[in-house]
């Protein structure tokens, strides 16, 4: 997954946004990977409990079909009914804003509001997607608890469609979820694998495989959201940034490095760990043309490997790399060394040696050239 860790500047902007967003509502998302895992129940059940504890809870949207358990809870909570626009139901945002509850429950975040016939002279009175409705509620200070299935996340849609062979129209941008205050995975794996005590047919096996891939995608998405929360928490509190569970691999390249195997290995490791891959180069003045060409080649390999590319500045290459690695919470640094005669004697005090000695709390992987 191409998740990029925000730069310090971006984080600062986020923190500032958070600070002046004191009056914003909080967004909590129950994330599932298939229908029937119990997201709606978890959401409504939380609504019920909050109401019992004295919070002002209303229901803003219900799915057309609800299970018996859910129907029972819904009866205990105030509902602001959907309104109809040209015969199609949409969330009644004006009514919700007027009612201004503490918490609004929205079952099914991925929903396309009906498109009205385009009349350029009439202002459109509603958003085209429900997630935009939710955004408006949050901005007005209403907290929202909502549910979504992994297949409706725009950036994941294509990948999920190859698994499910089902096309979905309505989507929610991944960034909207990245900015959620809380995300909870509803991880109730398919019954068949455990309770199928007897043998299961080929069809079940295919279904189980598909579900487990969807499950993995959901878990990793939630982990990414949590990673962002952790970062923002740590930054806000001025704490060290190396607590995250995500592996971050930093490949250091120089014009003379044999960069391809390092970058390819970095890519493979990052994929395996579902981590991040960064390729960094410390800018050197007055590169000879052949060195510049070699470097451009390395960076092309890095781009092809979907690495983030960072050009670092610093009088001292080793320090620049180590500062960057600490700053970005890198867990593994890949460096190359060339095997020349008398190498051992020259290793002491070399770049590689100094990186090893300075890389506190990180692994350094040395690649022979």
């Amino acid at each position: 997954m191409e998740t990029r860790r925000p730069t310090p500047e971006e984080m600062l902007r986020l923190c500032e946004a958070e600070e002046d967003g004191q009056s914003r509502g909080r967004l909590k998302v129950f994330l599932g990977y298939a229908s029937g895992v119990g997201k709606s129940f978890r959401m409504f059940d939380e609504g019920r409990r909050r109401k019992e504890r004295g919070e002002d809870v209303v229901i803003g949207a219900i799915q057309p079909k609800t299970s018996g358990e859910v129907a029972e809870i819904i009866q205990k909570i105030e509902v602001v009914p959907l309104r109809h626009v040209d015969g199609s139901p949409v969330m009644d945002i004006p009514a919700l804003l007027a009612r201004h509850p503490g918490v609004c429950l929205v079952d099914g975040l991925a929903y396309d509001n009906p498109v009205r016939p385009r009349d350029p002279f009439k202002p459109v009175s509603h958003n085209s997607s429900r997630w935009e409705d939710v955004r408006d509620l949050l901005a007005a200070g209403v907290s929202v608890i909502t549910t979504i299935n992994i297949q409706y996340i725009a950036e994941l849609r294509e990948r999920v469609e190859t698994l499910t062979h089902k096309h979905v129209g309505q989507t929610v941008p991944r960034n909207f979820l990245y900015n959620a205050d809380e995300i909870v995975v509803v991880d109730a794996p398919p019954d068949a694998t455990f309770q199928g005590f007897g043998s299961t047919g080929e069809e079940d096996a295919v279904r189980a495989r598909r579900l487990s891939e969807l499950r993995e995608i959901a878990l990793l998405l939630a982990a990414d959201v949590v990673d962002r929360q952790l970062e923002s928490y740590l930054r806000r509190n001025g704490l060290s940034t190396t607590l995250g569970a995500q592996e971050r691999i930093l490949v250091c390249v120089t014009p003379r490095a044999n960069a391809r195997p390092m970058i390819e290995s970095g890519r493979r490791n990052a994929d395996r760990f579902h981590g991040e891959l960064i390729v960094a180069y410390v800018r050197q003045p007055d590169l000879r043309p052949e060195d510049q060409a070699a470097l451009d080649g390395h960076l092309a390999v890095a781009r092809a490997a979907r690495a983030q590319i960072e050009i670092l500045d610093g009088d001292e290459a080793v320090e620049a790399i180590l500062d960057f690695a600490r700053e970005r919470g890198v867990t593994q640094i890949f460096v190359g060394h060339s095997l020349q005669k008398g190498w051992l004697r020259r290793l002491r005090g070399s770049h590689v040696d100094r990186i090893i000695r300075g890389a506190d709390g990180m692994d350094v992987r040395v690649f022979p050239h």
Binding site: D187, L234, S265, R268
Partner: protein, 377 residues
């Protein structure tokens, strides 16, 4: 004896802290299985005085615990023999990583569970992420707590299913403050270590990633079993990745305490890369009997630690450590060596720095990973 019974299935409810609802969810599933007509018993349940959870045991048969006396006190453990005699279809066993009191037949509860599975009994169990061996250093870094009660990763890998029991940290802290999780004094102490917000969030991320890894590993295993007939795995989000080649990892074992960390790290990387993993200690005296007792004990302890994690580990005789390591590595097709980073102030640092230099200089055909101790943030 029914030696032909197929091995039972194991399902692990994985959480990131006490109070997220693992036991509750496990018992709910047990109730569900009972409703479906399966023969379900509770083999071990830790009530922690939580009424909601205790209510979930209603109607389930409990096998009485076994009492064991140790140093004048009486402890209660799961009665594995009684469960085997009762032979249920499904057995509920709380707290998978638990260490049994001395005097029990087996050291660890997971070993008891292994017996139940061997007897064809399905088992539902619970654990928290901080007990996973390979994450021990990371958990210490996050929380400042060195967890002693660990469970080897391969034990969890053998489970048929690992489910994440997730709860927002905010909700968990709420529960803690309302006294749902612990008594007030214990809650106060908990807030100082595992229950700091940053710690909870970090542990939660670890648990999510670990569960995703467990899901993926099971899928890979299934795909392998089903062989050529299955669909090819879906390409990753942005296209193809280079074809994997076979990795083989060799971990250098010394008597230094940092060895445990290098072993955990090397094994974790090996697991993620689907690589073979070896561990080797080198001593100029090849036979254990001739090595001075102090050195020998430390080496043996570390080699056994590696073996417990299912790493093939051995002691080699050699005058020159770097040369011996590399010769072994070449003979065994190793692609990556793992060494501890010398700690500057510790005795012997100079020699070990020399070792790192020598290995790097000699390893013309393999990668060398130098592992630094994780620091508390």
């Amino acid at each position: 004896m029914q030696p032909t019974a197929p091995r039972g299935k194991l399902k692990v409810f994985l959480g990131y802290a006490a109070g997220v609802g693992k036991t509750y969810q496990m018992l709910s599933e047990a109730q569900e299985l009972k409703r479906k007509g399966l023969d379900v018993v509770i083999g071990y349940f830790e009530p922690h005085g939580r009424p909601d959870t205790i209510a979930r045991t209603e109607g389930l048969e409990t096998i009485p615990r076994r009492r064991i006396e140790y140093r004048g006190a009486v402890f209660e453990e799961m009665n594995t023999a009684a469960i085997l005699a009762r032979r249920p279809g499904v057995c509920v066993v709380d707290e998978f990583p638990h260490t049994n009191v001395p005097g029990s037949e087996r050291v660890k509860r997971w070993q008891d569970v292994d017996l139940l599975l061997d007897a064809g009994i399905d088992v539902l169990t619970t654990m928290n992420i901080q007990h996973l061996e390979s994450l021990n250093d990371h958990v210490w870094q996050i929380s400042g707590v060195r967890v002693r009660e660990t469970i080897p990763d391969w034990v969890v890998q053998q489970a048929d299913q690992v489910v994440m029991v997730d709860l927002a940290p905010e909700a968990l802290l709420n529960r803690l403050l309302r006294g749902v999780v612990y008594t007030p004094e214990k809650a106060k102490r908990a807030l100082e270590n595992f229950f700091r917000e940053s710690t909870l969030v970090a542990l939660r991320e670890l648990a999510l990633r670990q569960t995703a890894h467990e899901v993926e590993a099971r899928q890979d295993r299934l795909n392998l079993q089903q062989g050529a007939g299955s669909e090819p795995p879906a390409p990753s989000e942005a296209g193809e990745t280079p074809a994997p080649r076979v990795d083989r990892i060799l971990i250098h074992v010394t008597q230094d305490p940092s060895t445990a960390m290098v072993i955990r790290r090397g094994k974790r990387v090996a697991d993620y890369l689907h690589a073979d993993c070896f561990a080797v200690a080198v001593h100029k005296l090849g036979s254990p009997e001739s090595i001075p007792a102090g050195e020998r004990d430390a080496l043996e302890r570390h080699l056994n630690f590696a073996r417990n994690l299912h790493i093939e580990a051995r002691l080699l005789q050699g005058e020159d450590v770097a040369e011996t390591l590399l010769e072994f590595a070449r003979l065994n097709g190793v692609t990556q060596l793992f060494l501890a980073r010398p700690v500057e102030h510790r005795a012997g640092a100079f020699l070990r720095r020399n070792l790192v230099h020598q290995v790097v200089a000699l390893a013309a055909d393999m990668q060398v990973t130098i592992v630094a101790e994780r620091k508390r943030g």
